[in-house]
Amino acid sequence: MIMAAVFGLLVFLNPSGIMNPFRNILQGVLLPFQKVAYSFSIAAEDVRDFLGSVGQLKHQNEDLLKQNQELLSKVAKLDDLENENATLREQLNLAPRDKFDLVAASVVGQDPNGLGNWLEIDKGSSDGIVEGTPIVVSKGILIGRAQNVSAHFSQVMLLTNPKSVVNVMSAETGAKGVIKGEYGLGILFDMILQTDAVQVTNNVITSGVGGDMPRGLLVGTVQEVHPSDDHLFQQAVVTAPLQISKLDVVFAIKGEK
């Protein structure tokens, strides 16, 4: 009972600063093993996916041949769209994605409670990562930002974390707001003015307001729009374009080139 009271008090006081040196030592020891274990797990998952899909391969091959023919015709149209995209990007004042100074990092761990609150990566302050550094995949899809940065590893607070708040806007309509995590269940685009237009299928991108996040990083797509509980704002449920639990490599944006 005394022991429970002592640790209850410890939780209440939460002296994270005092514990950080111990945390760094433990995680420094665990990191190499985590790297091996995580990459092995991702490889095993890939093998499981492959084995599960062997029976479907023949059917898929026929489908792919048809799709290939359709895609060839679409390529020509995409050339036009590329030009249009460049124009839109210029109008929205988005930073071209190849302008970011990126550092690649391997994922070595995840939130063990299944809430999808955080990832752990094998890069830290010695690689130029600081608290708040945006973490992306495919050079332009935002997944979160760095926190608890140590010399050689960092925790990434994912967008689904309830503590995560990022300024965003609709790429199509320019409606501004913030996205908040929903305890691992998804992402909520909140604080949208009632007078602003947001529609299902709108892409949500970072607005760059506040200056701590580059403008134009993709967050996800609007899936549903509804008024907030107090009816003062609109809210939109946003789906991320990737499955974060299967990531093995991410990129930290150290700055712009």
Binding site: M3, A4, F7, G8, L10, V11, N14, P15, S16, M19, F22, R23, L26, Q27, L30, F33, Q34, A37, Y38, F40, S41, I42, A44, E45, V108, G109, Q110, D111, P112, N113, G114, L115, G116, W118, E120, N148, Q155, P162, K163, E182, Y183, G184, L185, S245, K246
Partner: protein
């Protein structure tokens, strides 16, 4: 000395599994809590007083490794160890010959208890009761987690028994 090394090794392995293997292999957001089940199985084998200090050590290591507030998992593990002790004393006679049902009871209560503690800490951190409800999850996810935890519990139980026999470690 060898006991300390073996116990520490198993705790570290279970933490590694929980952080770096299970989430990557899982296809849903519900999965087994390896470390909690290790503690539960071990406390069944070693008893309350024999395993208490190891539950505290495991809790601290797990908190440090998962960026949690230090003490959260210690409380959960202390609760689990106490629970095993209490339920064993209270129901061991009633469940004589039906140990598996008693073990299943341990797993169910420990899983629900850990859910409540996580949800409470999450709500307290966010200062929001909405967080409590969301972190608690639905009934189906709790049932699924109990099913996974039961399997993992018996794996750890078997593994600890074998390890103790192999290294001739005493059981209290």
């Amino acid at each position: 000395m060898s006991k300390k090394i073996i116990y520490s090794f198993l705790i570290i392995i279970s933490i590694l599994l929980q952080i770096s293997v299970v989430p990557a292999l899982s296809r849903s957001h519900v999965f087994a809590d390896n470390v909690l089940m290790l503690i539960l199985a071990w406390s069944v084998i070693d008893g309350f007083s024999g395993f208490l200090k190891w539950a505290v050590i495991a809790g601290i290591l797990y908190d440090l490794a998962t960026y949690s507030i230090v003490g959260v998992h210690v409380l959960i593990f202390l609760g689990a160890v106490y629970l095993v002790s209490f339920l064993s004393r209270r129901f061991a006679a009633d469940f004589r010959g039906m140990g598996i049902l008693l073990f299943l009871g341990f797993v169910i209560v420990a899983t629900i208890f850990s859910h409540f503690v996580y949800a409470f800490v999450s709500a307290w951190e966010m200062d929001s009761m909405r967080g409590f409800a969301l972190s608690l999850g639905g009934l189906s996810s709790v049932i699924l987690e109990v099913a996974y935890n039961t399997i993992v519990f018996f794996i750890w139980f078997w593994l600890i028994k074998k390890t103790k026999n192999f290294f001739a470690l005493e059981t209290i």
